[in-house]
Symmetry: C2
Subunit: 150 residues, 2 copies
């Protein structure tokens, strides 16, 4: 499994805010109830999203979280990467990974590289907006974006 609950929850929160917080902050409590996720656990996820400025948190009464951009300006890849750390399919490709001695002659590395590229292209191509509007199919109307060459 590549994406844990952290990433999946983060996505659901972002969708929830996009749907319910048009131009208002919505308290985490509401999101936790609607999504049926522990509020305490969500807090730790929101800390990350907030630090990376994907959402803005406002203290006190009437406060809560709101998006910092339009839903069409978030890619799913960005959201997942921010909470998961990396979307690389193997440790070898994780940024910061000490390059393996065998890397040069490795028969599998190119395959992992291409897979990583494929996954990234896919997830970066989809925008938060596409999920909110259930318009995933349209995002793939023409597949010009997918070039396996690199």
């Amino acid at each position: 499994m590549m994406v844990s609950t952290r990433g999946r929850y983060a996505l659901r929160v972002m969708i929830d805010i996009a749907e319910h917080g048009e131009n208002s902050s919505i308290p985490l409590k509401d999101i936790a109830i609607r999504q049926d996720i522990s509020q305490k656990y969500l807090e730790s996820i929101m800390t990350v999203l907030s630090k990376k400025e994907l959402v803005q948190g406002i203290h006190g009464k009437g406060g809560g979280y709101s998006l910092t951009r339009k839903p069409s300006e978030y890619s799913i890849g960005e959201i997942l990467r921010s909470t998961e750390g990396s979307l690389a399919p193997v440790a070898c490709l994780e940024c910061g990974a000490s390059t393996c001695d065998r890397a040069v002659e490795c028969k599998t590395l190119p395959m992992w590289g291409k897979l990583d590229y494929l996954i990234s292209q896919y997830l970066d191509h989809i925008k938060l907006d596409d999920l909110v509007k259930n318009s995933l199919d349209e995002a793939f109307k023409n597949l010009d974006w997918l070039k396996l060459k690199s």
Copy 2:
């Protein structure tokens, strides 16, 4: 990370056998030395590969492991799935996963489904032979196999 050392090691072992065991069994000890992987750890991986009949183990002196098919008849997906259990990007899609209450209305599930399909198509399209011969690029000459529709 989607593929752990188990899967990566399994792949390297399969490539090693394909390269060195044309029509002879090769002892795990040799593979462990060549690949610089703990023999004991490899044993637990070989057990799985052997049970699923991806390799054949021969006891006693002169014994060792050999492939049960031609390298062109193994897909990378099959090898990885056999040791990793599942290549699904999220738990929701793992076979045997209790279907989530929200599945019907879930805004993210279709996206995960397509990603799963994309990864599977990619890894099932590549054959062990392609890695042995470093001929990955040729495998993608024409991308007819990649249809994101489903």
